[in-house]
Symmetry: C2
């Protein structure tokens, strides 16, 4: 019996800090269909862990060596991707530099939390962003690294 | 370009409560290779969410309609499964009945937390169990549902 499961991807919510001040998270304008604004991320390769996949994708797509802070969740709705069924493991990450667009990104930018929901996200990335904002609200102050700006 | 990613599975740490008292978690003796003791779980189908996959597998394999409590983690080491590269989303679940072995399980049983690490687990399930036990230690008392026995 042939085993067929959905494709696995990993996406990053990359929190950018400059001089230890939180500036926002990275979004990309996709080079390939479906076109639009998205979190950076991509397909997992056989032979790498999901964390290696995430770090590789962040390096390839936004030129950042990110530190993984934690898993936000798994997004697996069969209709979340218009092409085929994908499952994404979404991690919150931190980086200390500004992103530069690479593979699969026409451009990229850092967006403050207040302006994030003004973006027109593809896939289910608006849902992921809402979950991320809710998660930040829930975290108590002591969980924030020192020097982080509250919103 | 053909996309190939690892296979996705979901495994359950199913906490069994009888008369609201915590009895332990469910392990199975596998019917198919690799033989040995494992957490119940199985491959995700295209067209279902990861949570639907987990609930379906728990029904098929240990005959329980489980309530999903939360995500423990994602296990994705390329060597975790001797057959091929699999990624497992592991969820903590709760059920109020005793399990009955179904598909892919020769037998199943409920094992108390004290005795869990005496089992000879296949895959990386001993690591998952260690993470689960550490997670239980970390949770503060208020997070335990009322009536749950502490260990």
């Amino acid at each position: 019996m042939a085993i067929i499961t959905p494709f696995i991807t990993s996406d990053g919510i990359v929190e950018i800090y400059v001089d230890n001040l939180f500036k926002g998270i990275v979004v990309i304008d996709r080079l390939n269909p479906p076109y639009g604004i998205a979190l950076p991320g991509g397909f997992m390769d056989v032979g790498e862990s999901i964390e290696q996949c995430l770090k590789r994708e962040m390096l390839e797509e936004i030129s950042l060596d990110v530190e993984i802070k934690g898993l936000l969740g798994i997004y697996s709705d069969p209709n979340r991707d218009p092409r085929f069924h994908t499952v994404s493991a979404v991690y919150i990450c931190r980086a200390e530099q500004l992103p530069i667009a690479g593979d699969d990104a026409k451009t990229c930018k850092v967006v403050s939390l207040e302006k994030l929901l003004n973006e027109q996200f593809v896939f289910d990335h608006a849902l992921i962003i809402k979950d991320y904002l809710a998660y930040r609200q829930l975290r108590s102050d002591k969980d924030f690294p020192s020097g982080e700006e509250k919103d």
